[in-house]
């Protein structure tokens, strides 16, 4: 990576008015060089107003699309704006933006890394605790995707991820909207399109607002849906090279094509 790539941080936010302001302020304080885009996923609270007040640009979806829809909006914006790197950081404050430079630095290099995942189980600081069933689901997903990516991935459901120009262009066209599609399936898409994926250990913080629901029934449901999402992602057909998404400026599309190997 050249020094000083143009970085866009995309924050998908759905009813996060209590935390989005602090998250933006923290990213601003730790990474003054990046641009911020909050994608308000059809919130019914003051998320958009709070984010604007905190100094971020806000794209407001007319109704709730889920993280996948919010992120594809962000990736499209990154393509249109000609950004080199797109970063996903959740609005609830569980991703520590101090790791951002480290994650961005892992892009490119001799391995031509195109997607970096901030992984919670990789041994940095306090362990991230989840129930047994959910842990099993995560392990199954991690094993399968590690084999596909030919590298050790321990936390494929992490929403803390950094994509380079090629990967974000791919995501702008093919970012799934279904459950777990935003993490698991998108990783499969990136791998199958030939992007190198790697992870960097990060320490996650507790959510600043809201609680993760972890009843045994929900955990079992999560496992089942994870298996379905993974199986579908594995058998689905995806185009080898991404076509330029609609709405992309001809110039950006041309630059992208020239970068293709």
């Amino acid at each position: 990576m050249q020094p000083g790539p143009r970085v866009l941080v995309v924050i998908p936010a759905y009813n996060e008015q209590d935390t989005v302001g602090a998250t933006i302020a923290e990213i601003r304080a730790t990474n003054p060089g990046v641009d911020l885009l909050v994608v308000d996923d059809g919130s019914s609270d003051a998320t958009a107003a709070v984010a604007r007040e905190a100094g971020a640009e806000v794209a407001q979806l007319p109704f709730n699309l889920g993280v996948g829809g919010a992120m594809r909006t962000g990736y499209r914006h990154a393509v249109q704006g000609g950004y080199d790197v797109a970063v996903q950081i959740d609005a609830d404050g569980q991703h520590d933006p101090r790791y951002l430079p480290e994650l961005v630095a892992r892009l490119g290099g001799p391995e031509q890394v195109g997607l970096v995942i901030g992984a919670r189980f990789a041994g940095e600081g306090e362990p991230y605790r989840v129930g047994a069933m959910r842990a099993l689901a995560m392990k199954v997903l991690a094993r399968t995707l590690s084999r596909m990516a030919r590298t050790r991935l321990t936390d494929v459901t992490s929403g803390f991820r950094v994509a380079d120009r090629r990967t974000l262009t791919l995501f702008a066209a093919h970012y799934p909207a279904e459950y777990l599609g935003d993490t698991v399936e998108s990783t499969v898409i990136a791998i199958r399109a030939g992007c190198r994926v790697t992870q960097v250990p990060v320490q996650m913080r507790l959510r600043q607002g809201g609680v993760a629901s972890q009843t045994p029934f929900r955990a079992a449901l999560y496992l089942a849906r994870a298996v379905v999402a993974l199986s579908l992602a594995l058998v689905r057909r995806w185009p080898e090279t991404p076509p330029p998404p609609p709405g992309v400026r001809a110039e950006a599309a041309r630059v992208h094509r020239e970068e293709q190997p």
């Binding site: 641009d35 100094g55 806000v58 979806l61 007319p62 829809g69 594809r72 914006h77």
Partner: protein, 130 residues
């Protein structure tokens, strides 16, 4: 026997009249109308010529002809429902794309409005001007 003929004719006639009316009011796309037209035509044919059904049942070895009718009818409905699920999925994807485009267009519009009003509220000005 004649009562089944009357029922069959009445049923298919209802479908055909409803189709015509929906088409006339621009409420039905042609592709769906064609589909239902053939379904209604099939019902009409079977009602007027019940021999077709018994002949077909003999041919494929179904002992009770009406079972063949039920089997085929449920198969047709199943395929139609599947087709509708497929269409629904495509529509959802299109709606999603439109929603995303709307969000990005709104963002672009806000930026332009801010740029055109340099005396606007300063705290809303983005750091970069691109």
């Amino acid at each position: 026997m004649s009562s089944t003929v009357i029922l069959g004719i009445a049923g298919s006639a209802t479908v055909l009249v409803a189709l015509f009316e929906l088409m006339r009011r621009h409420r039905l796309r042609e592709k769906y109308a064609v589909l239902w037209f053939f379904v209604a035509l099939g019902v009409l044919l079977l009602a007027v010529f019940p021999g077709l059904l018994t002949g077909a049942a003999d041919l494929v070895g179904v002992e009770v002809p009406v079972n063949l009718l039920f089997f085929l009818a449920s198969l047709v409905l199943l395929v139609l429902t599947l087709q509708h699920s497929h269409e629904l999925g495509r529509l959802e994807e299109k709606t999603r794309t439109l929603a995303e485009e709307v969000a990005l267009l709104r963002l672009d519009l806000q930026r332009r409005e801010r740029r055109d009003r340099p005396d606007g509220p300063a705290e809303h000005t983005p750091r970069d001007g691109s």
